[in-house]
């Protein structure tokens, strides 16, 4: 799935459009799922994913291979998602708690979520985490990225990430067991 830096730089030299098409086909799914797990709503995830790739297209000539291609794209996706969530919170005329309840109801909607009861509970528990912590948990547990990769993407130290993940797991365990 992941293109190497060498692959992408080689194609970029010859044809920017071709390189971009390869990037879109390789990364649209993981980026969409990364974003969707954070925002839950499909329409929001759809818009944000498109915005991510529009930004990738605008900056693609500046990509020199200093970081890995997927790190670069994931970083853009993380920033777009966190910006969206922060804006949403600022714009919300209802309380944050009510907002979380509304998003949680989307998980209950069988048209939006095809997971079983346990997965639903996990997703709802994740919603109770602060955004950045939830993002770290998703990337570590669900996307199975290494701490090093997550550190490259978020710009946070490995030690801080480990601590954040540890606390996230504890919280989720408590939330899920309390719900039964």
């Amino acid at each position: 799935m992941h293109l190497t830096n060498q692959d992408i730089l080689l194609i970029l030299k010859q044809d920017t459009s071709k390189a971009f098409r390869k990037i879109v086909s390789s990364y649209q799914k993981p980026i969409y799922h990364l974003v969707r797990r954070m925002v839950i709503d499909h329409e929001d995830a759809n818009d944000i994913t498109q915005d991510v790739f529009i930004k990738v297209w605008r900056k693609i000539d500046k990509f020199k291979g200093d970081s890995k291609i997927y790190t670069w794209i994931y970083r853009i996706a993380v920033n777009e998602t966190l910006n969206f969530l922060n804006k949403k919170k600022r714009r919300a005329t209802i309380s944050i708690q009510q907002n979380d309840i509304e998003v949680s109801h989307k998980i209950d909607n069988p048209n939006l979520f095809n997971g079983d009861e346990i997965q639903k509970r996990l997703q709802k528990a994740l919603l109770k985490l602060p955004n950045k912590q939830r993002l770290v948990f998703n990337m570590k547990y669900l996307e199975e990225l290494t701490y090093e990769q997550i550190a490259d993407i978020t710009g946070t130290s490995k030690g801080a990430l480990k601590a954040s993940y540890h606390h996230a797991v504890k919280k989720i365990e408590k939330i899920i067991t309390d719900s039964f």
């Binding site: 993981p30 839950i40 499909h42 498109q50 939006l112 669900l142």
Partner: protein, 147 residues
């Protein structure tokens, strides 16, 4: 950490056990590539997504690159046409003024005091009044009546 989570989930799962045997990994691994647990999307969603992305990026840039020189050409051509039009109108007006006295459709000669006044209607149906000295500009063959 995964083991801890599995310890939590295992007893919970047993409460919800279904007849089919599902592997622990498939049941609880909600990874991006695992279909069970992924958010629902339509079959052709990702085809549509990539089409939308390309329309807003590569295709948008290509289209604007094609349109831009055409826009310039159209603007220049339009300016030339306008200028040509204005010049033509000026020539016509000038022509008209110079020639109108030669194209008298009807005239009336009147004498007012000692001056000879000619009233005539030109090709544009406009009433013109000229003093006799201006008759030099009139083609005499067109005069019908005379004092």
């Amino acid at each position: 950490m995964k083991r801890l989570l599995l310890i939590v989930f295992k007893p919970i799962y047993s409460l919800h056990v279904k007849e089919q045997e599902l592997s622990m990994k498939n049941k609880f691994n909600i990874s991006a590539t695992d279909k069970s647990g992924d958010f629902l999307v339509s079959e052709n969603y990702f085809d549509e997504l990539s089409a939308n992305i390309l329309n807003k990026t590569i295709h948008k840039t290509s289209n604007s690159k094609i349109n831009f020189p055409n826009y310039k050409i159209v603007a220049v051509a339009a300016s030339i046409l306008v200028i040509a039009g204005l010049i033509s109108i000026k020539i016509l007006i000038q022509d008209n003024n110079e020639n109108k006295l030669s194209k008298i459709e009807s005239y009336v000669l009147n004498q007012v005091d000692s001056d000879l006044i000619v009233e005539f209607i030109d090709e544009n149906n406009m009433m013109n009044i000229i003093e006799i000295e201006d008759l030099d500009y009139i083609d005499e063959s067109l005069l019908i009546d005379e004092l």
